[in-house]
């Protein structure tokens, strides 16, 4: 049985190129094409698909909104987002919204088939470069350790507090106002459910975060 594909992109020239790749691959079949988000939704109503490839930037209904609709109508259908924008700006957002993979268009020729193969069996696909970074970002909301809830910047401040530096010393070192560091400190305490600096130091040492 062939893998049934919905391909949505408003640029015919690129759509043709992508279809070319897919059709040259045995086992893949482009069942429907759409040139905007509304057409993609209409196609979804008429056909069964194994995977949907959506351009992030489409007229009438953009990729993100189309994705959200797809996820509410067919939550199990893997969606692969194609984009002209670099991964670091949009990949996280799209994956959080339910996409199974994110691929820049110029990478499509080399990675598309690999990506489809991965998402149709329930996996997720991003470029290897981003994978590591994303793994951290995506698990943030379901952290095993409180400190994983912190942003990079907050973590930096956490470590400095733990090493005994005062708020003003940290402000001076990081080249920002005392007010900002105070706010960061309260936010760290709140996120980690701690009440004072001693507890921060204790936590950091206990978890061996000072290296």
């Amino acid at each position: 049985m062939k893998t049934r594909i919905l391909l949505a992109d408003d640029h015919a020239i690129l759509r043709d190129g992508i279809r070319g790749i897919l059709e040259a691959t045995p086992g893949f079949e482009v069942v429907a094409e759409a040139s905007d988000g509304m057409e993609a939704i209409a196609a979804l109503e008429k056909n069964q698909f194994d995977v949907a490839i959506l351009d992030i930037n489409m007229p009438k209904l953009n990729g993100l909104d189309t994705l959200k609709h797809f996820k509410s109508v067919a939550p199990k259908l893997p969606v692969l987002i194609l984009s002209m924008y670099p991964e670091e700006q949009y990949a996280v957002r799209m994956l959080k919204a339910g996409a199974s993979g994110y691929l820049t268009k110029e990478a499509a020729s080399n990675q598309l088939i690999q990506a489809i193969n991965k998402v149709i069996i329930g996996g997720r696909y991003v470029s290897p470069e981003l994978a590591e970074q994303l793994a951290f970002g995506l698990t943030k909301t379901e952290a095993d350790y409180p400190h994983e809830l912190l942003s990079d910047r907050e973590y930096q401040v956490l470590i400095m507090i733990a090493s005994g530096k005062s708020v003003s010393e940290i402000a001076e070192e990081l080249f920002v106002s005392v007010k900002t560091i105070s706010t960061y400190r309260s936010r760290i305490l709140e996120k980690m459910d701690l009440t004072n600096n001693a507890q921060i130091t204790h936590y950091v040492i206990k978890n061996d975060l000072l290296t």
Binding site: L14, G20, N57, M84, Y90, K105, L174, F175, Y184
Partner: protein
């Protein structure tokens, strides 16, 4: 008498012997005798035709003819500014009282002592000249003051009006109660409260009230008021009040302000247009050019599969790759997509990462979520971007930070660097100033402020924007 002009005297005396005695005595003493008349009417006729000749008249009280000396003197006083000395053989108090009404310089009783005559006439001439000088200088001053555009009022030390120039009369044609005049003028000052002007003037010598609204019976006019004391030997004699109509100045200022607002609107408009154009061009380049390039790359990659020796195709593929990256960079430089789709926090975070390729830039934000109107977001972003560009170009810094905070309904953006500071007159001043002007304009259109503090240890740009966060 040697240094003075000889006094010009008229003698009115109907006794020839007496007239001759007077003439000779005075001529001998150096006076000029203009004429001798034996009756009052002849004297008055002469004065009518020669009003400015005589300085003093020696007038016999008992004259023949229609007018006696006293009546003649009264007529002289009414129409002329000439001193009169009465000559009288009578000692009747009633006559003297009657004569006094015409305010003569003095009386001489017959027989007249020659020395007393000369001395009295000399004093009379001097007194005439003094009062004439005084009147002339008064006229001179008041004419001068009348021709001044501002209203001048002088008062004595308790506030009674002593003098008003023409403009002051025009403003206050029937000024009833002079006692509280200054207070009256100042009731409508800016704070609506009265000022104890005397105390202020006593301390400072003068008091300047700018842009006071002066309430006239028929209209209100904006004025500057200058109050000053007139002192002599540290004693205050009175006050001078100078009221200057600044309607015209105000109108000019208003016009300038109007043009300034127009100019600001124009510049805001231009900036919006520029941003819109940037968005359009960025999208055009990115979405159109980019798609074609991506397609090109896809096809090259597929060709590679069909052809065995694909070295040249590899070259082509890497050119296509570079082109895609260039297009992305050009588009992002024009208008980063994150600015349209992301929050200001995401946009600034992205910006700090972009710049971090050349200079470590950390972004700190005291808010975790901040939703701003698109244009405000753009202006904050552009200020941060311009500041970082300046740091990169001029500051020779090794570190920079961006801070964004929201406090008391004010968004504050602070960009710091540890560079060499803003050097004055480094040849690039003008260009740099234009950039700073642009940043200030961006803050100004949100009623915000932008300040730059620079030292040898670096520069801090602080932009603050009043902002009311809405619930949605």
């Amino acid at each position: 008498m040697s240094e003075e002009r000889p006094g010009k005297i008229i003698i009115v005396e109907d006794e020839p012997f007496q007239a001759r005695f007077l003439t000779l005595t005075l001529k001998k003493a150096g006076f000029e005798i203009i004429d001798v008349f034996d009756n009052g009417k002849a004297n008055l006729d002469y004065l009518k035709n020669n009003p400015h000749d005589a300085e003093l008249i020696l007038m016999d009280i008992m004259l023949k003819g229609a007018l006696d000396g006293i009546e003649t003197a009264e007529a002289v006083k009414t129409n002329h500014d000439i001193q009169v000395i009465f000559l009288s053989g009578l000692t009747d108090d009633d006559v003297i009282d009657r004569a006094n009404v015409s305010t003569p310089h003095t009386f001489l009783f017959k027989p007249v002592d020659p020395r007393q005559l000369v001395t009295s006439v000399l004093m009379g001439v001097r007194s005439h000249r003094l009062s004439k000088d005084l009147r002339e200088s008064r006229t001179w001053f008041s004419r001068t003051l009348d021709n001044i555009q501002s209203a001048i009022i002088t008062t004595d030390r308790v506030g009674n009006i002593i003098f008003r120039n023409k403009k002051a009369l025009e403003y206050f044609p029937d000024f009833g109660l002079p006692q509280n005049m200054v207070e009256e003028l100042l009731v409508s000052n800016r704070e609506g409260q009265k000022i104890n002007y005397r105390e202020v003037i006593k301390l400072k010598g003068s008091l300047n009230l700018e842009s006071v609204i002066l309430q006239l019976p028929d209209r209100n006019i904006p004025v500057d008021i200058l109050l000053a004391s007139i002192t002599r030997n540290e004693r205050i004699l009175g006050y001078v009040i100078d009221i200057i109509d600044i309607s015209e100045k105000k109108a000019q200022q208003d016009a300038i302000q109007k043009y300034q607002i127009q100019l600001q609107e124009f510049s805001d408009n231009l900036r919006n247009i520029q941003e819109r154009e940037r968005i359009k061009i960025a999208r055009e380049i990115h979405d159109e050019l980019g798609q074609y390039l991506a397609r090109l790359k896809i096809d090259i990659s597929r060709l590679k599969l069909d052809i065995e020796d694909n070295t040249r195709l590899n070259d082509l593929e890497s050119i296509a790759d570079t082109l895609v990256k260039r297009v992305r960079k050009v588009s992002s430089d024009l208008r980063p997509k994150i600015l349209d789709d992301g929050t200001i926090l995401e946009a600034l975070d992205w910006l700090s990462k972009e710049f971090s390729q050349s200079l470590p830039v950390s972004f700190f934000c005291t808010e975790e979520v901040l939703h701003l109107p698109q244009e405000l977001k753009t202006d904050i972003f552009r200020i941060a971007q311009e500041s970082l560009s300046n740091i990169l170009k001029h500051a020779r810094a090794t570190l920079a930070t961006i801070e964004l905070s929201l406090d008391d309904n004010t968004i504050e953006l602070v960009i710091r660097d540890n560079g060499i500071g803003v050097k004055k007159n480094n040849g690039q001043k003008k260009k740099k100033t234009m950039g700073v002007m642009g940043m200030k304009e961006r803050a100004r259109r949100w009623k915000g402020q932008l300040n730059i503090v620079s030292s040898d240890n670096g520069t801090t740009v602080t932009a603050s924007f009043p902002f009311q966060e809405t619930d949605n």
